[in-house]
Amino acid sequence: MSLFLEPVPMGENALWLVVPLCAAVGAAYKTIRVHHLRQLPMQILGLWAYMLVGLVALGVALYLLQHYVA
C-alpha cells in the first residue's frame, strides 16, 4: 500500500488546495467559538468566504505591486 508512504503526485498547480484548507480552519475555529451549534453552518460559510476573498484580494494587491511598482 503506497498511500501514506509515497507522496501523491500533485503537479505544479496546487493552489486550489487552499480552498478546503480555509474551510477546515474556519470549521475548527467556529466549532469552538459559536454559541449554539445551529448557527455553525452559516458561521463557517461566512468565515470561509471572508478568508477566500481576503486571500484573493491580497494576491491581487501583491500582483499589482509586483507588476507596477517593483
Partner: protein
C-alpha cells in the same frame, strides 16, 4: 482572585490531555460531544490528508523540527506517523548499511545525507515542491488548530463549564437572577 475548586484543575488538565491525545476528546469529556466529534473529524481529516499528500516523511524530525512541533498538536496521530517514519528511515539506513541518524561530523553528516536523500528519491518517497509544502501545511495546520482546541478545552474545564451553553432565553434569565 477567586479561589477555584480543586476538581476544576483536575478536569481542566484531563480535558487538555484528552484533547491533545485524541483531537475533540476534550470537548466530549466536557459533555460537548457534537463539537468534539466535529473537531475530531476536521483535525484528523486535515492531518491524514497532509500525510497522504506527502507520504511517510511528512513528519520528519531531522530537518523539519518546526513543522514537527506544529504537527505534534495532533497527539496520537502524530505519534503514529512519527513512529512509521522512524521505522521507514531505519529500514532504509539498514539497506544502505549506514547509521539511522546522521553522524556528528560535518563531512560525515553530508555524506550520510547524500546517500540517504538519493535513496529516498530512488524509492520515490522524497518530498519535492510543491508536495512537501502542501503536505506539511495541511498536517501542521491540523496540529496548530488542535492547540487552539486544547486551550479551549482546558479553559472550559478550568471554569467548570460542562455541557452546551443554555439557550438564549434561559441564559438571559440566569443573568437577570444574578443581577437581581
Amino acid at each position: 482572585m477567586p479561589k477555584r475548586d480543586k476538581s476544576h484543575y483536575k478536569a481542566a488538565l484531563l480535558a487538555g490531555a484528552l484533547a491533545w491525545f485524541i483531537p475533540g476528546a476534550g470537548h466530549v469529556y466536557l459533555r460537548r460531544s457534537a463539537r468534539g466529534v466535529i473537531l475530531c473529524i476536521i483535525i484528523h481529516a486535515l492531518f491524514w490528508t497532509g500525510l497522504a499528500f506527502g507520504g511517510v516523511f511528512t513528519v520528519e524530525p531531522l530537518k523539519q523540527r518546526w513543522w514537527l512541533a506544529a504537527q505534534a498538536g495532533t497527539g496520537a496521530s502524530c505519534l503514529a506517523a512519527w513512529y512509521r517514519q522512524e521505522l521507514t528511515r531505519r529500514s532504509i539506513a539498514e539497506d544502505l548499511g549506514i547509521r539511522p541518524t546522521p553522524p556528528r561530523g560535518r563531512a560525515d553528516a553530508q555524506a550520510w545525507w547524500d546517500a540517504y536523500t538519493r535513496e529516498l528519491a530512488e524509492r520515490k518517497i522524497a518530498l519535492v515542491y510543491p508536495t512537501g509544502g502542501v503536505a506539511r501545511a495541511y498536517s501542521g495546520i491540523a496540529g496548530m488548530l488542535n492547540f487552539m482546541c486544547i486551550f479551549d478545552a482546558f479553559m472550559l474545564g478550568l471554569i467548570g463549564r460542562f455541557g452546551e451553553p443554555p439557550p438564549e432565553p434561559a441564559a438571559a434569565k440566569v443573568r437577570e437572577r444574578r443581577a437581581g
